[in-house]
Symmetry: C2
Amino acid sequence: MTRRSRPPAVPEPGKFAYSGLDRVIHERARLGIMTSLVARPDGLAFTDLKELCDLTDGNLNRHLDVLHEAGLVEIRKEHGRGRARTVCRVTATGRAQFLDYLAELERVVAEALAAAQASPKKVPSRMLSSQA
Amino acid sequence: MTRRSRPPAVPEPGKFAYSGLDRVIHERARLGIMTSLVARPDGLAFTDLKELCDLTDGNLNRHLDVLHEAGLVEIRKEHGRGRARTVCRVTATGRAQFLDYLAELERVVAEALAAAQASPKKVPSRMLSSQA
């Protein structure tokens, strides 16, 4: 026997660490940006992306910087007729990482639902009485 | 006609804003904490929770503070034999909000997968050539 004969209280250390959930994509606004861009592989104008995700110019710029630094999106000025417009596109790497992220997220949801269903509405009586 | 006759470029403004995704729960570490606690409605010792979620004392304390302020968890010192231990439990409100969050997250995953499947591997040729 080892120094401590007591069995470990937690049978699966790190079970809910969710280290597979990419933090760059998981942030709520960036999740919306990535979904928008994956749906439009030809790219979306900055102004349209802003509207789809309901973000301010400043917030969208900040999140695009994070995604760009991670190699998930590319941002280009396009010059057509009239003034230039900024167009955002998902990269091949971004698309692949986003699909990996979604697969992990599906797993997390299934696991959490299973956790909740395994312990339905078992609320401590003290909590119930404090709500009465 | 209104001032601008051009139809809106984005048919569904705010479609990917995901305002229904509760920011307090969505953060990755807190998602793990909530799943752990929902699975164990009788509560989990701080040390066990730390191990399940692979967090440091400082990080777990910080995230528990956020969850506690939102009314999603309760934290108590319990005095049994030996020294006191800190026990964390999900509240009835926390459980209900977590289930709402999961339902919303399922919707987000389904929508994102649909977005990706509607535009399979359509990568701009410029990006392909730069990878060659």
